[in-house]
């Protein structure tokens, strides 16, 4: 086992870092404050290949592995976690799902645009009454000759207002639990689909989250992914990969918290010395760094297992749980090290706390990750 990045991986990381610092950093505070979706930035990322990193070139992607994706996503999320989640949803959930489960028609029709950033995808599983208990959904697709007609309300859809394509999980059969759930590719232009207002959120305010309403929305059956009843299995499988993405987003926030802390601690003087000379500050910095290193190892392990085609669901849950807790704790420590200067918007570190919080909630709360991990450890066969 070696932990050394090869030339290509280093260049991916460097490119992402330079792009993030040059292009994303200048507007990050304004986008947060005004809840502005980074439209032009996402287009540029698409042109560079960041929106479909793991999709093979023949479907318009960059053909890289999950580890390279993590290296890039960490650098992007370090600077702007909103861009991080937009990238993560499009790559880990939408593109990966279509590539793994879509048929040739679906892959040829939708992937090239999604993987090159010419269109944007979202992934819609949650409903107002079904969050952690995702299979308890109500949205229903009724078969009508060669079409499905969908009715219901989905919520919390990341990229909800900006996306062109929605991967929708809904029932095609009632009263059989998760076995009645199917996955569809729904185009935003289909009649009967409307989106709600953007949610006014605590953090990741540059990303748009909204409800989606289906009112007799007709979807052709060629847009059904695999067969009826396979949706929940597909969603859970894809969410395992998604968790690697969110863990990486969290790591980006945690690393930014550390980097900003180190920089500020060296600059700030109190009691006639640099605050970095105080043992208590040093201890905070050391502990933040330990958490980041451990997060990174967990994430990279899950990514490598995934790339090798091995079981990685427990590892992805561990990575997401640990990294999101680390992000929250490092962001709080960072603001603490900045003192009063951390509590105002100009220094840009209070946002880290607000952005970190979501990583403990979406794509499975920390409590649900513990449930997944324990279940996998306790299942006796």
């Amino acid at each position: 086992m070696d932990f050394i990045l090869d030339n290509q991986q280093e260049l991916v990381k460097k490119t992402a870092r330079e792009f993030a610092n040059d292009i994303l950093r200048p507007g990050v505070i304004e986008r947060d404050e005004k809840s502005l979706f980074p439209k032009n930035e996402i287009i540029q990322m698409g042109e560079l290949g960041f929106m479909g990193m793991m999709v093979p070139e023949k479907f318009g992607g960059s053909g890289l592995d999950t580890l390279s994706y993590c290296l890039a996503l960490e650098e992007i999320s370090k600077v702007d976690a909103s861009v991080g989640v937009i990238m993560s949803v499009n790559n880990s959930l939408v593109c990966n799902l279509l590539y793994k489960y879509g048929n040739e028609y679906q892959k040829n029709t939708f992937l090239p645009k999604l993987a090159s950033g010419k269109s944007l995808g979202s992934f819609s599983l949650s409903e107002p009454q079904s969050g952690s208990d995702a299979s308890n959904m109500k949205t229903f697709a009724r078969r009508e000759s060669s079409d499905f007609v969908i009715n219901g309300t989905k919520n919390w859809v990341t990229n909800g207002t900006s996306s062109d394509i929605v991967i929708l999980l809904c029932l095609t059969k009632k009263n059989v639990g998760y076995k009645g759930i199917s996955a569809f590719i729904v185009e935003k232009t289909f009649d009967g689909l409307t989106t709600g207002n953007k949610e006014n959120k605590l953090g990741i305010r540059g990303s748009d989250t909204c409800e989606i309403y289906f009112d007799n929305c007709k979807v052709p059956s060629k847009n059904l992914i695999e067969t009826e009843g396979e949706g929940f299995r597909i969603a859970l499988d894809i969410l395992n990969g998604g968790r690697i993405g969110i863990a990486t987003q969290a790591l980006g926030i945690a690393q930014e918290s550390l980097d900003r802390s180190i920089q500020y601690a060296k600059e700030r003087e109190q009691f006639g010395k640099s605050i970095s000379d105080f043992g208590i500050i040093q201890s905070k910095i050391a502990n933040m760094a330990i958490k980041n290193e451990a997060s990174r190892l967990l994430i990279h392990k899950a990514a490598i297992l995934k790339d090798k085609g091995l079981e990685f669901s427990k590892e992805a849950s561990m990575a997401k749980h640990f990294s999101s807790e680390a992000a929250m704790s490092n962001a709080l420590e960072c603001v603490q090290i900045f003192g009063g200067y951390g509590y105002v918007k100009e220094t840009g570190v209070e946002r880290l706390i607000r952005d970190a919080k979501i990583t403990q909630i979406y794509e499975g709360t920390s409590e649900i990750q513990e449930k997944v991990i324990a279940k996998s450890l306790l299942k006796g066969d």
Binding site: N7, Q8, L11, T15, L48, G49, G63
Partner: protein
């Protein structure tokens, strides 16, 4: 086919720790974080832009140095250069511009490049002569400090930066060796596809004999710093007069 060579050098990054090696003639390379020399990056972008505007054109990135310089060659290939040449020397021994230029001229001669672009100077040694001497050695037209370039048949038109804010438009026949000023374009990021594709591109390695050189660094050291403060008292006029004296005679601005 139009053939363009871009000379790229790997230099210590401006944020890299720079500590002097025990030999006292060079940096402790172990600790240095290397990057592509800034103006070379602009030269590379200029070459890629020329390639995009020319029907049949090949861009070759060439770097002189030890194994580590392959990193920037790959970066050049990822950005869109067609192939790379690594002029392999074991050490940083060769530091004089004439010896360096001779090495390049020998290595590039048989390739018959129409155009050689290089940065105006390297950020570590800063001689600012290499590109021009290469042009002379290869009997090419030469131009320095270009802030714009335009290919026109078998000629190239460039705008050169002169002293004191003056510019000069010159036109010269190909083949030509031109040094490029930073800031004339916006260097691109390599696309991820480009990064993937770079693996398949050729890097030709030529081993270089570095025994013939005209100049040697005898000592590399940090200037000693002192915190002397001289207060200048008096009326505003006297202060100005004395300050000008200090500028003229002591600091020698």
């Amino acid at each position: 086919m139009m053939k363009i060579a871009v000379l790229i050098k790997q230099v210590p990054g401006s944020e890299s720790p720079l500590s002097i090696a025990d030999s006292n003639v060079w940096l402790d390379e172990e600790k240095v974080a290397y990057i592509m020399n800034e103006s070379d990056n602009y030269a590379l972008e200029e070459a890629l832009l020329l390639k995009e505007g020319t029907q049949d054109c090949e861009v070759v990135v060439v770097s002189l140095g030890p194994e580590r310089v392959k990193k920037i060659i790959r970066e050049g290939l990822a950005k869109g250069a067609d192939r790379g040449m690594h002029l392999n020397i074991n050490s940083n021994d060769v530091t004089d511009p004439l010896s360096i230029a001779k090495i390049f001229a020998d290595a590039l001669k048989s390739e018959n490049f129409d155009l050689i672009l290089s940065g105006l100077q390297s950020d570590d040694l800063g001689h600012g002569q290499t590109g021009i001497i290469i042009g002379e050695l290869l009997k090419m037209s030469t131009g320095s400090l270009a802030v714009s370039t335009k290919l026109d048949g078998d000629q190239i038109a460039i705008k050169q930066e002169m002293e004191a804010g003056f510019f000069q438009n010159v036109r010269m026949s190909l083949p030509a060796s031109i040094t490029i000023q930073s800031g004339l374009n916006t260097p691109r990021y390599p696309s991820l596809k480009g990064i993937m594709g770079a693996k398949k591109k050729e890097i030709k390695t030529l081993d270089i004999d570095s025994s013939d050189q005209k100049l040697k660094i005898s000592k590399l050291y940090l200037p000693s710093s002192s915190n002397e403060i001289t207060m200048i008292d008096g009326s505003p006029d006297q202060i100005v007069e004395n300050l000008v004296k200090v500028f003229k005679s002591e600091i020698k601005i």
